[in-house]
Symmetry: C2
Subunit: 194 residues, 2 copies
Amino acid sequence: METDTRNEIMRATRRALCTHGYAELTIQRIADESSLSTAAIHYHFDTKEGLLRAFLGETLDGFEGKLAARASDPRERLETFLNVVFSPPQDDDGEFAVALMELKAQAPFHEAYRDRLVEMDELMRGVVADAVRDGIESDHFRDADPETVARLVVTAINATHARQVALGEDPEETRRLIEADLRERLGWSPEVAA
Amino acid sequence: METDTRNEIMRATRRALCTHGYAELTIQRIADESSLSTAAIHYHFDTKEGLLRAFLGETLDGFEGKLAARASDPRERLETFLNVVFSPPQDDDGEFAVALMELKAQAPFHEAYRDRLVEMDELMRGVVADAVRDGIESDHFRDADPETVARLVVTAINATHARQVALGEDPEETRRLIEADLRERLGWSPEVAA
């Protein structure tokens, strides 16, 4: 499949999922958000479930890709991580958070969604824990338990989407909370990383 | 409306919302989870939206009620708060978390749901901030910013439901994280409260 077509289907999926919710999502409604026909979408994806699995996979891959160009300095790695997590996809107006929340709510019923979400959680916690561990070893951070810090950060990130969708709160509120917590625990701050 | 009838409708709503999701939820499906007819449910609630608004209101009221019998000791108040938040409703098997997540995902489209969720957030943060403030004043806790501690605790609680639903994680994981954080920040722990 051409990258452009795939990107267009994924963008349309995000919009349609946000507008209609999971249960009312159909390939027709995804087609309506794009320049493609339902036949063209069906050509690439047999079912709605398959398409949404791909959507989650895409999100995970995109996330991994953005984190791949890792700086060696653990302080910068933490900052890159927060930048990636708190940067919504292009052309996004809160749709991504709603779309992801819809799929999370479906995880108890779809093992394939859950697997991807668990993978994403492990990836995020791993990146933070590694950076914290390296930062402590290189004396850039104060001593702390890397796994606990990683769990705290990722837990707060999980809540960011929930607070954005449920309460209409700006994600920057939670970002500031995470940054203050990391400053307190590790002596890390974005200014130090810069 | 009799309390028993209301309770039955609310329990059936929780189950039906969890089983079918928001978009596929109908009064018929709620009736199927109860001993009541659709006519009996419609007698009390005109629309699905009205019923779900009542469901959120019920959750909020129940929560307020359980917190109302407040101990004067701020250490006990923190413990009661965590017990209330981490005690699922009776007969619950993770359904409540899924049901609440479904309604949170609908908040961008339903002002009435959002208002209740914002109210719940303010209530929770207020309870924690008050207990922290009182505990600092009475020298039971170390000095900290009560609003920041409250935001950290409630943010982690928001994530608990998301992690339970999306990842299948035991809510006790997050409870332990919150308790460790409070111990570190305030010198508070459940053992101290007991």
